[in-house]
């Protein structure tokens, strides 16, 4: 079989991920690029006796290494045996997308152009002369519609037919620069000589290590301009506009979403809508599943085990420990799925970029910029990808602040805790109570960002430049793939981490050094009692609450699992509504789960910041909960 190494390169919003998923099907795996937490997706396609190994590079605008993503992409293309670069472009916006294409062509490696979104090209009344485009760029151009699998076969055909001949594509940069290029064309490894020369003149940071020279910045300007000029000239030859004044849906929607007065209220309405729908709709499933696990399954298993005359301790372990703990977490699967569906839709639709834009002014007031707003919203889903997404922030200080405040954004795993407690203590007002917690998290995040920017991380300039892509009706298949990945993670977590934690907790609660014991004399009680006094001023100095919080540091949903095991139906005896609220506030603010801590370590690449984040969040959580409880006592 013939082996082909192919990479997929393209702008963000060009449909790259969709194409990758459609080409590789389910036969791909997601890993990490060495040293960084950017997803590396790789898959194999077997086609006509060829084995195509396809690597999905991050979405980039340029191969100049501004961001980690661009750096990875560039290094991968330069340092690996790449047989063919598949450059996917949004065909309805060739002017922007072809800039990357020209950079790729200059690398001197074989490139295939995949012109995506041909349907919207037609809708916009644009006609592309493909033959002419291929001739001018001397590469193959394949029209595709990734979401509809159109052009898939043609694309695969052209991948397998690619020859290794270098293209003779060249842009004429004008007499002076061409002269410089010919002067600096040097042989270095197997890089393209002309490419080396151009990069040298552009004062490229990486090439600078090879050739030391400091050229006038104006040359870079000229080279960039020439590329865009070339594109202008090219498009004049290959594109014809059939409709002269096309105004798409995007422009109409933007009039509202980025409106001076309506923009922000609309955003808040969307978030409230997402929130209440998640809560009310998810609540229906929670009740049904709770009944299923705690009444149907638990009593069935219990009865069966009694009939089988299993040891009572084993019966208790299985029914109280495992079904109670793991089941208590699994009932929230639908709620979490609904939340992720909404967050994914917001991301995929293109709305997130608008939210960043309208929030820029407000984010600047706390010293960040609009772009830092996106990880905050994503944090409502899960803090791990949210913290990873801070890579899009150019300023290192901004990025650290964004990472440190992100855990205050209440993630999906904390929702079960609110749902569970507010159903007991705030019946009828569950959604309002929970909403107040989300809001509190946001306020604390903003406050902390403000303090950090004023003290630890002063920086003046924080650039905010972001493309506002055309709105896009999220594709059912893409959204479901994404949501399923997240939900699967949650379920696997329930089956592994939560399972083990539940079993351990059960043992800790039923044994001590002397052997089997009562709850109150167990290991667990000893541990709980030793830390409980810390929480007394917060209103929950009970050892069981303390033990729950301790184990909740592994994953927040464990708190619910443990409460099932520890309290059963006796919550009312230990908590008052006020102390329950104070407890929820503590759960909201104290250390994120181990997965988040690990991500903070990797993203900051520093133990110091990891420990700092754990420590300061404990202090914030304790202080805020204490204030709420103590002030609450005075009022109520």
């Amino acid at each position: 079989m013939n082996k082909i190494n192919a990479v997929l390169v393209g702008n963000p919003n060009s449909g790259k991920t969709t194409l990758f998923n459609r080409l590789t099907g389910s036969k791909h795996h997601v890993g990490n690029w060495p040293g960084v937490t950017v997803d590396k997706k790789e898959g194999t396609i077997v086609y006509n006796n060829n084995e195509i190994n396809l690597v999905d590079l991050p979405g980039i605008y340029s191969i100049f290494p501004f961001s980690i993503e661009e750096k990875i992409s560039r290094e991968y293309i330069l340092e690996n045996e790449v047989d063919v670069i598949i450059n996917i472009v949004n065909a309805s916006n060739l002017e922007r997308n072809l800039y990357l294409t020209l950079q790729l062509l200059e690398l001197g490696k074989p490139v295939i152009l995949a012109l995506n979104m041909m349907d919207s090209v037609e809708k916009k009344g644009i006609e592309i002369n493909l033959k002419k485009l291929e001739e001018e760029l001397s590469i193959k151009a394949i029209p595709i519609i990734a979401v509809k699998d159109v052009g898939k076969k043609e694309l695969l055909d052209s991948i397998t037919e690619i020859s290794n001949d270098k293209t003779d594509f060249k842009i004429n940069y004008g007499e002076h620069i061409e002269e410089l290029i010919s002067k600096y064309m040097i042989k270095y490894q197997d890089y393209d000589e002309r490419w080396i020369a151009i990069k040298t003149i552009e004062n490229d940071e990486v090439i600078k290590d090879i050739i030391k020279h400091d050229f006038d910045e104006d040359y870079t300007n000229q080279i960039t301009s020439k590329k865009y000029d070339y594109i202008d000239g090219l498009l004049e030859k290959v594109i014809e506009y059939k409709k002269s004044n096309y105004i798409g849906m995007t422009d109409y929607i933007d009039k509202v979403t980025t409106h001076k007065y309506f923009g922000i209220p609309l955003f808040l309405m969307i978030m409230a809508f997402v929130f209440f729908l998640t809560f009310n709709f998810g609540g229906i499933f929670v009740e049904k599943l709770d009944f299923l696990f705690n009444d149907v399954v638990a009593s069935f298993v219990d009865n069966t085990l009694v009939k089988m005359e299993v040891f009572p301790w084993l019966r208790s372990l299985i029914v109280d420990g495992i079904i109670g703990g793991v089941g208590g977490v699994l009932v929230f699967v639908p709620t979490i799925a609904i939340l992720f569906i909404f967050i994914t839709i917001l991301e995929d639709s293109g709305y997130m970029a608008r939210a960043a834009f309208i929030m820029d002014k407000w984010m600047r007031k706390i010293g960040l910029n609009g772009k830092s707003f996106i990880p905050m919203i994503m944090g409502f889903g899960c803090n791990v990808p949210a913290i990873m997404s801070t890579k899009a922030l150019e300023d290192e200080n901004d990025r650290l602040v964004a990472i440190l405040i992100n855990p205050f954004m209440s993630c999906g795993a904390r929702l079960p805790v609110y749902a569970f407690l507010s159903a007991i203590f705030f019946k009828g007002y569950e959604a309002v109570v929970t909403f107040s917690l989300y809001l509190l998290g946001v306020l604390i995040a903003i406050l902390m960002a403000f303090i950090f920017k004023k003290t630890l991380f002063k920086s003046e300039e924080s650039p905010f430049i972001m493309e506002l892509p055309d709105y896009n009706i999220p594709n059912v298949k893409s959204v479901s793939i994404h949501v399923w990945e997240k939900v699967k993670g949650y379920i696997i977590n329930a089956g592994t981490v939560i399972f083990v934690a539940s079993v351990l907790l059960w043992f800790a609660l039923n044994y001590n050094f002397a052997g089997p014991s009562e709850f109150v004399n167990s290991f667990g009680a000893m541990i709980g009692k030793s830390i409980a006094p810390i929480f007394a001023p917060l209103g929950f100095g009970d050892w069981r609450a303390a033990l729950t919080l301790l184990s909740g540091a592994i994953a927040k949903e464990i708190v619910v699992a443990n409460m099932h095991i520890l309290f059963g139906n006796t919550m009312n005896l230990i908590f008052t509504p006020l102390s329950a609220y104070s407890f929820m506030v503590f759960v909201l603010l104290y250390v994120p789960c181990v997965a988040t801590i690990g991500t903070i370590k990797r993203e900051t690449n520093s133990w110091k910041w990891m420990f700092f984040s754990i420590f300061y969040q404990m202090i914030v959580a304790w202080t805020v909960s204490m204030l709420i409880y103590q002030i609450g006592l005075l009022i109520f």
């Binding site: 300007n221 301009s225 834009f357 002014k361 150019e394 300039e461 650039p463």
Partner: protein, 98 residues
Amino acid sequence: MKTNNRKHGRGCAYRNNCALPEGCVFLNNVKENTSVELEELCSNGRLRRKLQEMGLTKGVRFTVINNTHDGPVVINVRGSKLALGLGMSEKIMVKKFA
């Protein structure tokens, strides 16, 4: 004290809004639906490069399509919509054209 060079960086000799060349303004002061021509990027190094690569090269013509949020603007340049924060828009010097 903030020095002017730091604020506007290399390649720009203009202080805030005074002493701008005739007909020039910074992008954050341009009204909606106005077409402008890029005169100068008052930013240095990587940021300047980033703006250029996104299509904001000297002399390019583009339209401001949203400027109602006290600083951040949306422009339509080279067929795509770009949102630029205040930190960016106040460093992009443009010239109006009819």
